[in-house]
């Protein structure tokens, strides 16, 4: 099945990589209680904000399992990109040309990530951006289609905490609102850790409001989106 949509544009993968791609699991149903569901919190560093042109430079991921952040299971890879031009985003993520040149081969790094991801749903702050960037990278480097569902914490946070009055806020706004102590921001895995801490707070409140699964959260978010649209019309 996975190969049916692959056409002539398939990137050149070696046999070992193809085997690894084939062995990947599917996607979890999302029906499990939040505490029993493994989540992967993703933070990508990219060459810029244009999702159709810019490239993924680094992948940072933190695991929430058994309702807690597993500090021993973190993922971070810097991807090797040829001729990477230093742009203003280097000021944010601090990945200079040297680190990028020394990074991992993108296909290998992305396969590592997919194996790390397993069947877990993904969480990210401003998830549509990460989702698009990751999907493009996977398609480009592995000819793989990203099917994993995402929840956008930038959307979930104001739904659960309307009293915060943060509408279009960034991660920093929510970090400040909850008084989270973040050690080193703007490194993909440190950002992922801050995002994961935010996720734990949001899950705790979601459970108190009777939403105790990934599916329930998705459902509530869909309703919220409809209402938001109706209001804005």
């Amino acid at each position: 099945m996975r190969f049916s949509w692959l056409n002539g544009r398939a990137p050149s993968l070696d046999d070992r990589q193809r085997q690894r791609l084939e062995a990947l699991p599917g996607v979890a149903s999302g029906a499990l209680p939040l505490r029993d569901q493994r989540f992967v919190v993703l933070d990508l560093e990219t060459t810029g904000l244009n999702t159709s042109r810019d490239l993924v430079l680094a992948i940072g991921a933190v695991v929430i399992d058994d309702g807690a952040i597993q500090l021993g299971q973190q993922f971070e890879r810097t991807l090797q990109r040829d001729n990477h031009q230093v742009s203003e985003s280097v000021l944010i993520h601090g990945i200079g040309p040297d680190a990028v040149a020394a990074g991992s081969d993108p296909a290998g790094a992305l396969l590592d990530f997919l194996e790390f991801l397993g069947d877990s749903p993904l969480l990210a702050f401003h998830a549509p951006f990460d989702q698009r960037m990751l999907a493009r990278a996977l398609k480009h480097s592995l000819g793989h289609r990203l099917l994993h569902p995402f929840i956008d914490l930038a959307e979930l946070a104001p739904l659960l905490f309307p009293q915060a009055n943060i509408r279009q806020g960034g991660l920093d706004d929510w970090i400040a609102y909850f008084g989270l102590q973040v050690q080193q921001r703007h490194n993909a895995s440190a950002d992922a850790l801050a995002t994961a801490e935010l996720a734990l707070i949001l899950f705790s409140h979601a459970r108190r409001q009777g939403m105790d699964s990934f599916a329930a959260l998705e459902e509530r978010l869909a309703g919220w989106r409809r209402r938001q649209r109706a209001q804005s019309l």
Binding site: L71, A102, S104, Q181, A190, A196, L200, F203
Partner: protein, 643 residues
């Protein structure tokens, strides 16, 4: 390094940044700041980071044997146990960032006895038991901490205090030394019938200053010292007379387990230079002033004697410096705050007595017996170097005309004494609670009336008055009148529930400076900005609480800790609570005295105000915990008196 390895390394380094971030956070707190990096990294890699919303239960007794070790990364955790006096629960402790739990239960492989709740949104690092056990095995720092828990924190505070005081010192001695270890040699003793000449020969041979007279069972009957020999020779004593005619009977004794401190106090109080050690009724040793002196550079007993023999008030004033030195040394060698306040009070008492005697020599005896009273902290034997005068005079009189006449004779003396004490460093009382004030130089009947008025009419001034005057004590002169007054007060308070309730209200006025959301509550503006008052906000709640409960239950003791102990002995307060209050009181007092010593060294005026930010993390935590005990005492009073 191959290219693949280099990639793996780059990835690994990056992942480690989160671990490092967490390690950096932990390295701000004991014991993590003393652990080896590799051990700390192992710990963090095996941790889970968990979130608890405000009010969530983290662990509770019903969860069974504890399976995890927790470190608060952010937020606050409260320990809740069933309330001792009413339904519901009370908060017994608070744990904040960098602190761990539940060590005792984890080490004891049992369930926790206290439910741990998130007091606000809280993140905890959670380490599973297998990793905890491994860490316990490899890291001696961690093991030491885990085994000794919070008491090791208290030790660390004490070590720090000793270290700081030791910086200005260097001597090695301890007043906690057991007397049994001090008197190494066999005591020199003889039978009652021994001739004086023979006894003196024995003393000379052994080059000691005393000989103990014992019966055949080695029970001490009396003691004879070189001082007594001087008296005997001066009186033309016969050298062949038996020693038991000259000895001091029933000599004062302590057990070998008593401390050097106990002996020093006894010698200072009783004006003696030798203390017999008696175990199971038999003489086992003698400790002399000289034995103690080898332990101390500034000799307490010697200092007390110098005070008692000072010829002029100026000499007494100069001796204050030696008292400072003594306190410095005692702090340096880990004396408890009670030992120190006790010694300061003792030396102050000697100074007061000497000032009175010198003034009497100078102005002549007034011809009427009187008792010098002290009130407040001096009355409770809780003086620090920072001391106000709170005193009065008590005398006997036939009627009010007689009282007025006697007062007329005593007042000029009292004023001179107040001035003399001021020269010795006892600050004149701003509220004029001094014997030179005619309102405080009263006959038995007048004091009686005055105190009865306090109890009958609970006005704010009277309540304030009772909180000072009801801690009264006789320092000089016959003590009987003072004892009677105290008993009278106890009888009246016992009957007067309304007065007790007003006193309870009064005792709740000073709130300990800890808030719900921040660790300390400090002054917001003015010269006192960012500071709190260790005495008024920290000690006063304990002092007021203990006084109220003691007075209400007929307990005569005046000292706060003694009151607490007797209240525990009579089941009026729970033993655990009493212990916790005592410890908290010690800590606050110790931090206060430390601050005073530092101020004295820097020639700054004494102040009880402290900026908690100047304390290190450990001291802050322990001080906060101590204030919380004061809060608990207050809430138990509020409950008892339904306020």
């Amino acid at each position: 390094m191959s290219k693949a390895d280099a990639f793996a390394q780059a990835g690994k380094t990056a992942v480690l940044q989160n671990i490092h971030g967490t390690m950096e956070f932990l390295q701000k707190y004991p014991p993590f700041n003393q652990m080896e990096n590799a051990h700390l990294a192992f710990m963090v890699e095996n941790c889970q980071l968990r979130f608890y919303g405000s009010g969530d239960s983290i662990i509770k007794p019903a969860d069974g044997v504890v399976q995890h070790f927790y470190i608060v990364k952010q937020g606050r955790v409260h320990g809740e146990r069933p309330h001792s006096a009413r339904r519901g629960t009370e908060t017994t402790f608070e744990i904040t960032a960098g602190e761990c739990f539940p060590l005792a239960a984890l080490i004891g492989e049992r369930a926790t006895r206290t439910e741990h709740l998130a007091a606000e949104d809280t993140f905890c690092l959670q380490l599973g038991k297998p990793a905890f056990v491994k860490l316990f095995g490899v890291s001696s720092v961690f093991r030491d901490f885990a085994l000794r828990g919070v008491s090791s924190l208290l030790d660390q505070v004490n070590q720090q205090i000793q270290l700081r005081a030791a910086e200005t010192l260097g001597a090695q001695y301890s007043l906690d030394t057991r007397l049994g270890e001090l008197s190494m040699r066999q005591p020199v003793s003889c039978a009652p019938g021994t001739p004086l000449r023979e006894a003196v020969r024995l003393m000379d041979e052994q080059s000691v200053g005393s000989i103990v007279i014992v019966d055949p069972e080695q029970r001490p009957l009396g003691i004879f010292t070189l001082r007594d020999l001087r008296g005997a020779v001066a009186g033309g004593g016969e050298m062949n007379q038996p020693i038991d005619a000259l000895m001091i009977r029933d000599p004062f004794h302590l057990t070998p387990a008593a401390s050097a401190f106990d002996a020093a106090i006894a010698m200072t109080e009783r004006h003696i230079a030798h203390v017999c050690l008696v175990a199971d009724g038999r003489l086992s040793g003698v400790v002399s002033e000289r034995d103690l002196f080898s332990l101390q550079r500034v000799d307490l007993v010697h200092l007390a004697r110098t005070i008692r023999h000072a010829g002029r008030i100026e000499t007494l004033a100069a001796l204050r410096r030696d008292i400072h030195l003594l306190v410095d040394r005692m702090l340096a060698h880990g004396a408890s705050s009670t030992q120190i306040t006790h010694i300061i009070t003792l030396l102050n008492d000697h100074t007061v007595c000497r000032v009175i005697e010198l003034v009497l020599e100078e102005c002549g005896d007034p011809g009427v017996p009187f008792t010098w009273l002290c009130f407040g902290s001096e009355g409770r034997r809780e003086q620090t170097l920072h001391t106000d005068q709170d005193n009065g005079i008590l005398f006997d009189a036939e009627d009010s005309a007689d009282a007025a006449a006697i007062r007329g004779r005593l007042l000029p003396l009292a004023e001179r004494i107040n001035e003399g004490l001021a020269l010795c460093g006892f600050t004149l009382c701003q509220g004029r609670i001094m014997a030179g004030n005619p309102e405080l130089c009263l006959s038995r009947a007048e004091w009686s009336r005055r105190f009865a008025g306090f109890i009958r009419e609970a006005t704010p001034e009277n309540l304030l008055g009772s909180s000072i005057y009801f801690d009264l004590r006789a320092v000089w002169g016959p003590p009987e009148g003072c004892d009677e007054l105290r008993r009278e007060v106890l009888r009246q308070i016992d009957d007067n529930r309304l007065f007790q309730r007003m006193m309870a209200e009064n005792a709740l006025r000073q709130r300990p400076p800890v808030g719900r959301f921040r660790d300390f509550v400090v002054a917001r503006k003015g010269a006192e900005k960012d500071t709190l008052d260790l005495k008024v906000q920290g000690l006063t709640p304990f002092v007021d609480g203990a006084r109220l409960l003691a007075l209400a239950h007929g307990i005569e003791a005046g000292n706060t800790l003694e009151r607490l102990r007797q209240l525990v002995a009579r089941d009026i307060i729970d033993a655990q609570d009493g212990g916790a209050y005592e410890e908290a009181y010690h800590i606050i007092q110790l931090i206060r005295m430390q601050q005073h010593q530092q101020q004295a060294r820097q020639n700054l005026p004494y102040s009880n105000r402290l900026d908690p930010d100047t304390l290190n993390h450990l001291d802050r935590r322990i001080l906060r915990e101590s204030f919380r005990q004061a809060q608990r005492l207050q809430s138990s009073l509020a409950l008892r008196y339904q306020l």
